[in-house]
């Protein structure tokens, strides 16, 4: 909502007046307030009781859960599995280090006046994946190797989402440029690629990548399951990315293209130096939004047998040692995702508001 910069003089707003204005302005508003208020009050109480007041947080095993409220003890006991999957205990410092670096790279992005935060972001996009590439699987520089089948939990979720988005960015840019190309065949091929990938559900893509990819490849050429899932996710995601970037390219005024032409720049220089820097900056919120979508969609890998954070929880809630902990497990996963997605979406909304100023045509 646009508000005028000069605000009217403040009214002396007493609580009663405020309520009359915001809750009971008309008879149907009053009725609505009463009904909704009743629903909120009756549902919040039991939920709080279950989640906090009657819940069990401490103890050693299932017998310490009273059953009156939530059994958070279960989460506490299995937290290691939910975060690291089967990653060996003594090597988990490597994952912790990556979590720390990830935080170092991206937390400053949320703080407006953080010095040189751009460089932290650039490190996150370039240096971080390289470090992760050597650190997580190990096998080099005297680091003990950990096969990808042992990765799991939150760590795997983050790896899938992060690599998926990073790898799909360049492919997305190429596809977007292809779709706006003046050459009909290049354009046609890009359109077909984008539309086909966007039309099929991620499940079928993952299924294909997980079991059928080796059928398409020459004999003897094979990748690990995780790698194949990543290939599927990347191709699928790049089609969405292309559409986001295309939006940015379309928003750049014609004059910019013409000015670049007038300067005698070739195609790649025109795009690389003039158009893309502006377009990409415009679509950062869009890219962040696709990241959120992808982050949530990574849960689908549990269907092809990878243990992401939802997969680890799903596989432990049936543990006979713990009874009826499914809701606790799901709430825990929901909370993990919610924290990430809500935080990031707030960031993207702020950015959108800030970037909005300059480019209204």
């Amino acid at each position: 909502m646009t508000e005028s910069t000069m605000k009217p003089p403040k009214k002396a707003l007493t609580p009663v007046k405020w309520m009359r204005e915001h809750l009971f302005s008309t008879w149907y508003n009053a009725l609505l307030t009463v009904v909704v208020g009743y629903l909120v009050v009756t549902s919040v109480g039991p939920i709080l009781n279950w989640a906090l007041f009657d819940a069990d947080f401490l103890g050693a095993d299932a017998s310490d859960c009273s059953g009156a409220g939530a059994c958070w003890l279960f989460i506490d006991q299995r937290l290691n599995f939910f975060i690291y999957g089967f990653y060996p205990d003594e090597l988990q410092w490597r994952v912790d280090l990556m979590f720390l670096l990830l935080a170092v790279a991206f937390v400053p992005q949320f703080i407006e006046r953080f010095p040189a935060r751009k460089w932290f972001g650039i490190f996150g996009m370039t240096g971080l994946p390289v470090i992760g590439y050597f650190l997580i699987p190990g096998g080099l520089f005297g680091l003990e190797a950990v096969e990808s089948t042992k990765w799991g939990g939150l760590m795997l979720t983050l790896i899938l989402a992060y690599i998926g988005i990073l790898a799909s960015l360049p492919i997305g840019i190429l596809l977007a440029l292809g779709r706006r190309s003046e050459m009909p065949i290049i354009r046609g091929l890009s359109v077909v690629f984008i539309e086909v990938w966007r039309a099929v559900p991620l499940i079928t893509v993952l299924f294909m990548a997980s079991v059928m990819l080796p059928l398409f490849l020459p004999e003897g050429m094979n990748f690990e399951k995780l790698m194949r899932a990543l290939i599927g996710i990347t191709l699928w995601q790049s089609a969405y990315m292309a559409e986001v970037i295309r939006g940015g390219l379309q928003a750049i005024p014609r004059g910019q293209y013409e000015a670049a032409d007038a300067l005698g720049l070739g195609y790649w220089r025109k795009m690389g130096l003039v158009v893309l820097p502006q377009a990409l900056k415009l679509v950062i919120p869009g890219i962040v939004n696709t990241f959120i979508a992808l982050f949530k969609d990574t849960t689908l890998v549990l269907i092809i047998g990878l243990f992401d954070v939802l997969g680890t929880v799903q596989s432990t809630v049936t543990d006979p040692a713990w009874q009826n902990v499914a809701v606790e497990g799901y709430v825990f996963v929901a909370f993990c995702f919610w924290i990430f997605c809500f935080g990031i979406s707030r960031y993207s909304q702020n950015l959108e508001r800030k970037l909005d100023t300059g480019h209204k045509t």
Binding site: L23, L189, A199, M212, F216, L310, Q314, V327, V333, F342
Partner: protein, 395 residues
């Protein structure tokens, strides 16, 4: 673009500097590369399949399937063919998609409007709903609804009853099924006549309004005709409808229409999840209509209702339609998550059991993908037509 600089050279361009030649060359190379890659892929696949002794072709569609499916809209039993399982899966997918799209649209519009409500509590509750639901993965929500709701419902023998005709338990919701008797055709006929009449009245009313300025209450009259005529026909034909009421037989209820928990959970999760996105789309759509428009229509003396109907909504729809289309597409694609809770949709039945029993992954996956492509393209096409209808007509 570069043409001018090149043309200005007196010697004329060398062919490899001519943008047209270059363009042609690269396109030819591109298409050759794609064909070559595609051909290699197909050849690899074929030779791999042959060397591994995998049967190919679509003959398997004729073979007997031999497995049961809990729910199907088309007649099905285990003695029918694999081809039939495809139709069962497809219709189930379409059913849940259509149900989801309808529910998500209604709920999404409601919440989107509530989000802008002047009532503080209603606005905040809507905001809370949107921010919670859309930031949690859909698959998790499906699991939650399925296992949480299932655990909360009673077993068939302790069913929750509504008037002895509807039953709710952990096997589903059982409602009476209307069975049409002889003479029900009259009711259908009456409905058709009513529709035709409403269309005629609308044309006539519009003509009259343009000519005389008088407004005819088309909507109220239309609804009256649509309801009254079929009801009248129903009684004239002697109430040709019987209700088959579900009853407990053995372990489960039989008869009537069953809404299985898998369908309910999937429908609920898809609708609630997509509604949170639609609500945001609706909100930004309504906000995009500038205040000047509302003020102008007020100045013309239009009532609140008419302002909303004739000025705000048509303009908001232009902003709403494109993102709404992609939400519908997402919903249709997300319905494939059915496989996680055992709802027999296309992916679960056809790409699941059928694929596994026949082992013909390439054919089955190709068919499945083609279906989703068709669904997506049809929704886009339909929404594009609608979008063109509501778009600004530049004169």
């Amino acid at each position: 673009m570069k043409k001018q600089t090149v043309d200005s050279k007196p010697a004329g361009p060398k062919p490899w500097y001519d943008p047209r030649v270059r363009s042609l060359f690269f396109q030819v190379v591109a298409i050759a590369a794609v064909f070559w890659a595609g051909w290699t892929l197909v050849e690899n696949t074929l030779s791999n399949m042959e060397s591994r002794g995998i049967s190919t072709g679509f003959g398997f569609l004729e073979e007997t399937a031999g497995f049961g499916i809990i729910m199907s809209l088309v007649p099905y039993d285990a003695t029918m063919s694999y081809g039939r399982t495809f139709w069962v899966g497809l219709t189930n997918t379409l059913l849940v998609s259509v149900m989801g799209i309808i529910a998500a649209t209604l709920l999404g519009f409601l919440i989107g409007v509530a989000r802008l409500s002047s009532n503080w509590l209603v606005a905040k509750v809507s905001l809370f709903y949107i921010e919670v639901i859309r930031n949690i993965p859909l698959l998790l929500q499906i699991f939650f609804w399925y296992f949480a709701v299932l655990g909360a419902l009673p077993s068939p023998r302790q069913s929750i009853e509504v008037g002895g005709t509807m039953f709710l338990n952990n096997r589903g919701l059982y409602v009476p099924e209307p069975l049409t008797q002889d003479g029900f055709g009259l009711v259908w006929g009456a409905l058709l006549v009513a529709i035709a009449a409403v269309v005629c009245i609308r044309i006539w009313a519009k003509k009259r309004q343009l000519a005389t300025g008088q407004i005819f209450p088309t909507f109220k009259v239309g609804v009256a005709i649509l309801v009254l005529l079929p009801v009248l026909a129903y009684f004239v034909a002697g109430s040709p409808l019987e209700w088959e009421v579900p009853a407990l037989k053995g372990f489960n209820f039989g008869g009537g229409i069953t809404i299985i928990p898998e369908l309910a959970a999937l429908w609920l999760a898809l609708s609630l999840y997509t509604a949170s996105f639609i609500a945001e789309i609706v909100r930004s759509g309504i906000l995009s209509v500038s205040k000047g428009q509302t003020e102008a229509s007020k100045a013309l003396g239009l009532s609140n209702g008419l302002t909303l109907r004739l000025v705000v909504i048509p303009q908001a729809m232009r902003v709403i339609i494109p993102p709404l289309t992609s939400q519908y597409l997402n919903l249709a694609k997300n319905s494939s998550l059915a496989t996680a809770i055992g709802y027999p949709d296309l992916v679960a039945v056809f790409m699941g059991t059928t694929l596994n029993q026949t082992g013909q992954a390439v054919e089955v996956v190709a068919i499945t993908m083609a279906v989703y492509l068709t669904i997506s393209l049809s929704i886009s096409l339909f929404m594009n037509i609608y979008n063109r209808a509501v778009a600004i007509k530049e004169r």
